[in-house]
């Protein structure tokens, strides 16, 4: 593995809208190139459709130019020079924060008028130095930071700082208050998406559920790469069993085996006993089992179906988080390993057809298994994980 791959960026962003608005006036755009990752958080002036169009335009222009290989300075210059200034208010329509992660080693943070992004390093606030540039008549700040494992960047629109104005605070929530609030959650090890949700939920609470401005949070967490391997189903050809098992168990990282027959084969290959448990921690999910040398052994289709349900929910509003984040049933355990721990997921999918399952009375046919893998890998890809699927 190259040095470049030692760290990776875990990203999460969410917005809450100005009370009564269907559209958000903030916009986050993400672009990945070979050696870098660019996040643009733009905040259109005001709220509603005008703000939404302008922030979308701003973030799209910047991210597209960067993806096309143009220098960041040129992109900022173009935006700063072309952003219209509101005729009524005399200020630019859209402010922005750009976080660019290069080779997972350095971060550049370029900001125009958004609240200064927070960096929590080793559990403490780290006030990184910034230089101020004058580009196209606009004051742009730029910071260049050497990344460390565990660094958490929190970029936000001013709607976050304004939370609680006139309701709980006279002048809203101060940046130092936000830092103190987040410092208590960062060491717990939450993912970027969860940290984002925690901060926005607090904002929403301070606004009494009636946000006076659009509020957006974008969190980037630098974490070490963690591969997880998941085997699902026995190989189509029995003669391949040994080959597939040796490939699976020689892959670095954690190992999950799903499926009764599959785990029987794994146990035989490892020459260790397979011990199913009889605990029904979730009445609908079959119990897990134990094999020495395997991190997790579960039933197949039913358990994985539930994991897929959690994955789809995670990508929406993560409302079922409370269920899978502390459950000890097979589906919750897989969900935590895949959604929270893993940065790289390798699926080893066996194409064997279980003759006993090809019964019209049972909702667990071969096709469902293939579809589950496709949908789940798709969801995990959307969570920003590197996915590799091999069929046997």
């Amino acid at each position: 593995m190259t040095k470049k791959n030692e760290l990776c960026a875990d990203i999460g962003y969410l917005s809450i809208n100005h009370a009564g608005e269907n559209l958000c006036g903030d916009h986050v755009e993400k672009v990945e190139t070979d050696d870098s990752l660019v996040l643009v958080l733009a905040d259109g002036l005001g709220s509603g459709v005008k703000a939404s169009i302008l922030s979308t335009l701003t973030s799209k222009i910047i991210s597209t130019m960067i993806a096309a290989g143009l220098k960041l300075e040129d992109c900022v210059e173009t935006i700063a020079a072309t952003l219209p200034v509101c005729s009524v208010r005399g200020v630019a329509y859209s402010t922005f924060t750009i976080i660019r992660i290069v080779d997972n080693k350095r971060a550049e943070i370029i900001q125009y008028d958004n609240p200064k992004s927070i960096l929590i390093r080793n559990g403490e606030n780290y006030e990184y130095p910034v230089e101020t540039l004058e580009i196209g008549g606009k004051r742009i700040t730029k910071a260049d930071i050497e990344l460390q494992e565990g660094d958490v960047f929190i970029a936000m629109s001013d709607g976050v700082e304004h939370a609680g104005v006139g309701i709980r605070y006279n002048f809203g929530w101060k940046r130092s208050d936000i830092i103190e609030f987040m410092k208590t959650f960062v060491p717990v090890g939450f993912t970027a998406k969860t940290l984002t949700k925690i901060l926005l939920d607090e904002c929403d609470r301070l606004y009494d559920g009636q946000p006076g401005d659009d509020a957006t949070v974008c969190t980037v967490k630098m974490r070490p790469r963690t591969p997880v391997n998941l085997m699902f189903g026995p190989p189509a050809d029995r003669a391949d069993n040994d080959k597939v098992m040796s490939l699976f168990f020689s892959s670095p990282g954690k190992h999950i085996v799903c499926g009764g027959t599959t785990s029987t084969i794994a146990a035989k290959w490892l020459d260790k006993p397979l011990v199913p448990k009889l605990e029904y921690l979730d009445p609908e999910i079959p119990p897990t089992a134990e094999i020495e040398g395997v991190d997790l052994v579960t039933e197949g289709v039913i358990t994985v179906s539930r994991v897929l349900e959690y994955a789809k929910d995670y990508l929406k509003d993560n409302g079922k988080y409370e269920k899978w984040s502390c459950g000890r049933d097979g589906a919750s355990l897989i969900a935590r390993m895949l959604f929270e721990d893993a940065t790289d997921v390798s699926f080893f999918v066996g194409r064997a057809v279980n003759p006993a399952h090809q019964n019209p009375d049972l909702p667990i046919t071969f096709n469902i298994k293939m579809r589950l893998v496709e949908e789940l890998s798709d969801c995990l890809g959307k969570m920003g994980k590197k996915i590799n699927v091999s069929y046997f």
Partner: protein, 81 residues
């Protein structure tokens, strides 16, 4: 010591393994037979058509959540020495 093994594979699970396991656990404790019967789980026995599959020792039986008590009276109790 008698060993009863219940299949908890996907197919048997859908046919009611959990209810069978819970039924047996209840009956075993009600009759005070915890010292003479060991209850265990197993993954697929390859006989999904006749699920829920339950083994007494090596002998296989087909049980459903409705027939647990009947199975216990007829097949389990007489085999306890």
């Amino acid at each position: 010591m008698m060993k009863i093994t219940v299949c908890i594979g996907s197919s048997c699970h859908l046919k009611g393994s959990r209810e069978v396991v819970e039924g047996l656990q209840k009956l075993i404790s009600e009759r005070g037979l915890k010292d003479s019967i060991e209850l265990a789980g197993t993954f697929c026995l390859g006989q999904c058509q006749t699920g829920v599959n339950v083994l007494i020792g090596e002998e296989r039986f087909s049980v459903t959540p409705d027939t647990v008590t009947e199975f216990f009276e007829k097949d389990v109790l007489p085999r306890i020495k």
